[in-house]
């Protein structure tokens, strides 16, 4: 096994650039997806049936189709539509669709929003009825009940499955290598493989990077759980 090639400065720089892209994609899509997820979860548990149906259809499609197809749809599929082609040179929001990074980010954000929305909606539905009733007894409006009582406790309850979702998202960023022009860790490994014909070394190095990142994320979430779910922890003294 020829590890010398992997540890050359150019190769390490390539992996480094890939890691930066991966982390940027991960954090950005989680933030955007997270905000969208809260909105979608509110729609799913809200009083308007038609909105529930629309958002429900959205999460059904997102959770029922592979992320790879979603990426291809957004990058190639939307790019084919003449309506978008006519606008993406000058009209502001559509100019972004030309950019592969934007398309990848959009695909990942919509994907994580779909999954997280369902998780959050489930947690909202499981809020203890007594909490909601006492909030209403205090005269809080629907919005106040949501913001002060339901959402904070629902978000805490979503934390353990959400940690799973974040790790899945980290692994899903490896699909960014399917978008032309995106250089993430997997794409960097593929480049080294095709340049130097060393599949083991190149992909093992990528696997090691992802493994470290996964452990860091899990450790971060353990800390978060200890803080936010402290009330559920077993007695420590």
């Amino acid at each position: 096994m020829d590890w010398e090639v992997i540890f050359r400065p150019e190769s390490l720089a390539l992996y480094g650039e890939g890691l930066m892209t991966t982390l940027w994609l991960l954090v950005s899509s989680l933030v955007i997806g997270g905000i969208l997820a809260v909105l979608f979860a509110l729609a799913l548990t809200g009083p308007w049936k038609w909105l529930q149906r629309i958002v429900g259809a959205y999460t059904f499609v997102i959770r029922g189709t592979p992320l790879l197809i979603q990426i291809y749809m957004i990058y190639y599929g939307l790019g084919q539509l003449e309506w978008i082609q006519a606008r993406w040179d000058d009209v502001w929001p559509w100019t972004h669709f030309k950019d592969p990074a934007f398309c990848a980010l959009l695909a990942f954000s919509l994907n994580t929003a779909g999954y997280t929305a369902e998780m959050l909606a489930g947690a909202i539905r499981e809020t203890h009825a007594g909490e909601i009733e006492s909030a209403q007894a205090f005269g809080m409006s629907r919005l106040q009940v949501m913001l002060r009582i339901v959402l904070p406790s629902a978000m805490r309850r979503t934390l353990p499955p959400y940690s799973n979702e974040v790790v899945m998202m980290l692994h899903s960023t490896s699909l960014a290598s399917a978008v032309p022009g995106m250089l993430d860790v997997t794409a960097a490994a593929s480049r080294i493989y095709s340049d130097f014909y060393l599949p083991f070394e190149a992909y093992l190095a990528a696997a090691a990077i992802y493994l470290c990142a996964t452990f860091c994320l899990i450790a971060l979430f353990k800390l978060a759980e200890r803080h936010f779910l402290a009330h559920l922890a077993p007695r420590r003294h």
Partner: protein, 228 residues
């Protein structure tokens, strides 16, 4: 143009084949892994823990590339050293099935382990009191009860597995996603082909959900559910 659609439908058959084969491998590995983790035998527990931790820490795509490209070269090097004239070619189907089976075996291990732990201890003790051997006890007592507890997690893993088969297109298996990509590039109309493929995946998901729901209902016969 319609020939492309027919070829994508053929690719759909391949998708079903790969996913079912990978499911078989993952169930086998899941049962083995769960047994190992619950055995109390320290080295076995450690081995199973390493397996589930590492597999769930690497992206499926990277593992697939490793098995497909790295695995072939590794095995062929070993075979060369052994002096026989055989070259073993891990083609995309096998690489995909093995990788997906391996990965989802790790997730199934956790699902089955949780399910087995949910069975009341009394059942195992009663089985032993009746003089049942371990295999008999497993087949008659553990397995039927485990199915009910394992089904939610199993369903989840299955649905994720179906979607993961799309990744095998990236190592060259000519299933739906691969053929859709080629067709869309050759005819310059990606929208139609990817929409078609997405619809096929949704159909597959929907059919699976109904089948698993039926299975859950069948295995829940005789259990009580409180009225909320």
């Amino acid at each position: 143009m319609s020939d492309y659609y027919w070829s994508i439908l053929n690719g759909a058959l391949l998708t079903v084949g790969v996913s079912l084969a990978a499911l078989a491998v993952s169930i086998a590995l899941g049962l083995l892994g769960a047994a190992a983790k619950l055995s109390g035998n320290q080295p076995l527990v450690a081995l199973a823990t390493v397996y589930t931790t590492i597999i769930r820490g690497i992206p499926e795509l990277v593992l697939m590339l490793l098995v497909f490209y790295g695995g072939s070269i590794g095995i062929n090097n070993l075979l060369e050293m052994s002096g026989t004239g055989i070259t073993l070619d891990i083609e995309p189907f096998s690489a995909g099935v093995l990788t997906l089976g391996f990965i989802y075996g790790a997730y199934m291990t956790e699902t089955f382990r949780g399910a087995i732990l949910s069975i009341p201890r009394g059942q195992f003790e009663a089985a032993a009191a009746f003089g049942m051997g371990p295999v008999q006890a497993f087949l008659r007592i553990t397995l039927p009860q485990m199915v009910r507890y394992a089904l939610p997690g199993f369903t989840n893993n299955w649905l994720v597995l179906i979607k993961a088969t799309a990744l095998i297109s990236l190592i060259g298996l000519q299933e739906m996603t691969y053929l859709a990509k080629q067709a869309s590039a050759a005819t310059r109309s990606p929208f139609a082909f990817f929409l078609f493929t997405a619809a096929l995946f949704l159909l597959y998901t929907w059919v699976s959900l109904r089948a698993l729901r039926w299975l859950h209902a069948r295995y829940s016969l005789g259990t009580q559910r409180a009225e909320l």
